[in-house]
């Protein structure tokens, strides 16, 4: 069995050259090899959404993506999108609306919400609920999270009006 496979990828704007076991999925690579602990693992079979990261500009389930599949690609994690400020309004809304308690689901929620507000700027509450239903939360009961996202949709609409 081959041991390590070389990969080259950009993570949060920084280029990396690493060697990984083929079986290592993207979030284990990000957490263990790069020390980026913001992405979390819940179910590891694609249903809870805690592992949501951006690969090549789209959100994916990090637990269902092999690190070797990110070879040559671009990854953004919660650390990256937070540092760049692109989700500042989402983060502020989450705090204001009390949309997190333990915080375990929050990075995944924010990554998913980021793609929603970018791709569906006119989403209504029902559409927000449907979209975010791919991320599980055990603490908040979801309404505060939906409120926060709707707040941001409204704010962004007003800002561009």
């Amino acid at each position: 069995m081959a041991d390590l496979y070389p990969i080259k990828l950009t993570v949060n704007g920084k280029p990396h050259q690493c060697s990984v076991q083929p079986r290592t999925h993207l979030v284990d690579f990000l957490r263990d090899d790069l020390g980026l602990k913001g992405s979390h693992l819940g179910c590891e079979h694609g249903v809870c959404g805690a592992c949501t990261v951006e690969l090549n500009g789209q959100i994916v389930r990090g637990c269902l993506t092999l690190a070797v599949q990110a070879d040559g690609g671009t990854v953004q994690t919660i650390e990256g999108v937070s540092a760049s400020g692109v989700i500042r309004d989402l983060q502020d809304a989450f705090v204001r609306r009390n949309a997190l308690q333990c915080g375990f689901c929050t990075s995944g929620m924010l990554m998913a919400a980021k793609e929603l507000v970018e791709q569906m700027p006119h989403a209504n509450r029902a559409e927000v609920r449907e979209w975010i239903s791919g991320n599980y939360c055990r603490c908040t009961g979801y309404h505060a999270i939906v409120d926060a996202i709707c707040d941001v949709l409204q704010q962004r609409k007003e800002a561009t009006a």
Binding site: D28, H45, G46, R61, L64, L66
Partner: protein, 290 residues
């Protein structure tokens, strides 16, 4: 849980993939979107020696019109299909069904070819392919062949694909001006496996439908065509009496298998509900989605 160790290779050509399948047989698994395979590996329900990543093969990508058909490459993602202008125009059933598939993060990675080859009876794409009368294009050591959707889904997670064949694309007849379609699915929560779902296509002439294909998902080991009901509805004006008869026919012709939370009778009832909601739209509009 973590997947067991495996070797990994990313071939550049279909011929290389076929050679690997011949060499390794069942010890190798094909990786496309990975939304099913990775879940399986992470839960250690399979421990292959080799994973063959086919996402480097450009000829498997793309959505294009090829003469009388819409060609959907095996690696077209669910999101690609959801937002493709060609799909919206030539196979709008697929655009209507796409948002029902899981959630956006999964749709960004999961592929059409993977879904068809996996042949989950509760999945949207196999049912839609059958409703559209599409064709699977496969390549193996003996070359390329085409398999009609009606002949493709042979049993539970079983298809007509040989172990040394790769699904390279699907071809779907272009929708004509008289095309009518409907897609509807019932699930407890959005993104869950459907309790029952229905995809239907036909040609509309006046207030009657011709050449109907009515297909159900989630009721049996494969997607199920309701041929008795299709025949009943052929060329009949869609008044309420006809719809009622069709619903009764559908309920009598299917023999649903239960799942953990739904009995055969529940599925039978719900299938009728879907048809009851879907058919009247043919009399008034060109499409039905719910």
């Amino acid at each position: 849980m973590k997947a067991a160790a495996f070797d990994y290779v990313k071939p550049a050509s279909i011929d290389q993939v076929i050679a690997l399948l011949q060499e390794h047989g069942d010890d190798a698994r094909l990786l496309a979107g990975g939304q099913t395979l990775m879940a399986t590996l992470n839960m250690r329900l399979s421990e292959p020696q080799l994973v063959v990543d086919i996402t480097g093969i450009e000829s498997l990508r793309g959505i294009s019109v090829q003469g009388p058909v819409l060609r959907i490459g095996a690696l077209a993602t669910h999101t690609d299909i959801e937002f493709s202008p060609l799909v919206a125009r030539h196979a709008p059933l697929l655009k209507a069904a796409a948002p029902h598939i899981a959630h956006r993060a999964i749709r960004n990675s999961g592929t059409f070819g993977g879904s068809i080859a996996y042949a989950d009876p509760a999945a949207e794409w196999p049912t839609c392919l059958l409703a559209l009368g599409g064709t699977v294009v496969a390549r193996g050591p003996k070359g390329e062949r085409r398999i009609a959707a009606d002949d493709f889904f042979t049993g539970l997670y079983s298809t007509a694909l040989q172990p040394d064949e790769l699904l390279t694309a699907c071809e779907i007849p272009l929708a004509g001006a008289d095309h009518w379609f409907g897609f509807s699915e019932l699930a407890r929560r959005h993104g869950d496996y459907a309790i029952v779902g229905m995809a239907a296509t036909a040609r509309r002439e006046g207030d009657a439908l011709h050449g109907l294909r009515i297909v159900l998902l989630g009721v049996d080991a494969t997607p199920v065509r309701a041929r008795q009901t299709e025949t009943l509805l052929e060329a009949r004006a869609l008044d309420m009496a006809t719809v009622t008869q069709a619903v009764a026919s559908l309920r009598s012709e299917i023999d649903p298998l239960p799942d953990l939370t739904n009995t055969p009778d529940t599925k039978r009832h719900l299938a009728g509900v879907l048809l009851h909601r879907m058919l009247p739209t043919a009399a008034t509009a060109t499409t039905a989605t719910a």
